[in-house]
Subunit: 338 residues, 2 copies
């Protein structure tokens, strides 16, 4: 035998019967009560409370023109605090506009992304916010999305001209690298994503630009661009520091690579291994960076704000206040010296 559960959700009809009015009067009351006699409103509200009635939002959004009140959000990795903050920013702005978010995690899998987008559209979302994976993007073309507006965050998709929020990846990486060069470093290693990842490519470009501008050699043997997780980053850092001519500083293009590099550097210090104690510049913040055994410069940014901006762009589109041409917002980053 199953557990005793409460009854199924009551309908507007039952509320109407209990209140002794028609369903229309209930509907009007719940919609704000314009042109409904106060005493009837009171009876309706009493019936609503007594039955524990909730309006069926799905049935509601069935009527043409009615928004569903849902925003579909697909991100690549919710376990990364960066994306947790991003999702929080989106959720906040959505809530301010009386919307909820449906959240999906793609895990950098284009197939899963496609599946999520289909499902979101099937659920009649009012809009989509996506941190796109690197796969092909046929399923994101406007004609496939119907009239559902899309905002991209953090990354762009080739051949897709839509509202986008980005970080100043190039500028941040450039300025971070310049900081190292100013401090006298000339041999600077690079740890980052594979170049097919949009941010990886942009951050590398900033690094490269600073290096060549200052005439510092860009040496492929201390450039590692294929690490997505901490362990791979640790290994790459190890190889770099075991290089016959090791770098005196390391530029890390993201949080995962920073943690991996510092883990390796910390290990060498603890074990008393010889070799350089490289300065580190990290794109992405992490907590207690000021307590690291080597100086760490942070290229900081606000993921939550990024989420808020993405949602703000989306609602501008939904409310028709956006320019007709796709908008791109590029958020500044700040450099925090140790």
């Amino acid at each position: 035998m199953s557990t005793t559960r409460g009854a199924r959700q009551p309908t507007i009809k039952e509320v109407a019967t209990l209140a002794g009015v028609s369903p229309m009067t209930v509907s009007r009351t719940l919609a704000g009560g314009v042109n409904v006699r106060p005493d009837l409103q009171a009876r309706v509200m009493a019936a609503v409370r007594e039955l524990g009635y909730y309006r069926n939002e799905n049935a509601r959004s069935l009527r043409p023109g009615q928004p569903s009140g849902l925003i579909g959000v697909a991100i690549t990795n919710l376990a990364n605090p960066y994306y947790g903050n991003f999702a929080l920013g989106v959720e906040e702005v959505a809530a301010e506009h009386g919307r909820r978010i449906i959240l999906g995690n793609t895990g950098e899998d284009a197939g899963r992304e496609r599946q999520l987008v289909s499902d979101f559209i099937g659920r009649q979302v009012d809009g989509l916010i996506l941190v796109p994976t690197s796969g092909e993007a046929a399923h994101l073309q406007p004609e496939r999305l119907g009239d559902v507006p899309l905002v991209l965050a953090s990354r762009r998709v080739p051949g897709l001209d839509v509202d986008t929020v980005l970080l100043d990846d190039v500028g941040g990486a450039y300025r971070g690298t310049i900081g190292l060069l100013d401090a006298g470093h000339t041999r600077i290693g690079f740890l980052g994503n594979r170049s097919s990842v949009f941010t990886g490519e942009r951050r590398y470009r900033g690094y490269e630009q600073a290096m060549t501008e200052r005439g510092a050699p860009v040496d492929p043997s201390i450039i590692a661009r294929d690490q997505q997780d901490v362990d791979a980053a640790s290994r790459a850092a190890r190889a770099m520091l075991d290089h016959p001519e090791p770098p005196t500083a390391i530029f890390s293009a993201n949080n995962r690579n920073t943690i991996g590099a510092l883990r390796e550097i910390g290990r060498r210090i603890r074990d008393g291994l010889p070799g350089p104690r490289p300065a580190v510049v990290s794109f992405d913040d992490f907590e207690l960076s000021e307590l690291m055994p080597v100086p760490v410069t942070i290229i900081d940014h606000d993921a939550r704000l990024l989420g808020r901006e993405a949602a703000t762009l989306l609602f501008a589109r939904l409310e028709g206040t956006a320019e007709s041409k796709p908008n791109t917002v590029e958020l500044p980053v700040t450099i925090e010296h140790p």
Copy 2:
């Protein structure tokens, strides 16, 4: 002039017309195609592709007995990586069961929680997973939820007997404290949540239990239980270390307090201030804890697994395979010495 957008979503009727069949044949085809001639199925699928048709899940779930495929999830703070991982675990299991999650952030606000739960029910969620706030819980009583099953995570709600997943807070705090006592510490400070927070209370109990069992004095002047954020935790740690008889070790009941305490300890070390360099035991993991200037013991647990377990309980309930009595799962924690 607004942007040119694609047409609105096509309906099953339009697909049917294009394929030259009835809507029913389209519906049957999309439902798996039992008893539909293969050539008609092919025509239907071609029309679906041509029009970019997606089934309207909201209209679908309108029919009685049909699940909406949505799980409502409300957590207290998405910015905390702990809850990001939790949400990821829930999302994974939900996806394995063909469900999506609607996510809301309560920010420890009972009113917001109530609002979110109403909205979730209005959207006909198949189930609810909640990290409850500390407020009163009338809105969570079964009769208010209708037939929507509820799973609590991380915390219990007084007077609410439902499926729950918890950590072994008491045992973890006890073992962590015992570790400090074994290492010779007797004067151990406590940093944690206010006692009205369920986990704060349980972790304090584990600490207290270990202290009294070993005859160590529980001194209220080095017990601070009212910090929710890093800055408050830093201030509490500062007061504790400025105490005329400062603790030689600190037990921190959560991530936020740990970061705050270490920030203060690091500051004192950098500034060369005198006084103890307390060992730290932290309930909740954080990255690079092994690189801290004082030894940090981690009471570790798997937030993602907690999320998975919560979702697993919920689906057991939904599929009727759960025992009729509410279930409680208490996940173990591990102690990681520095």
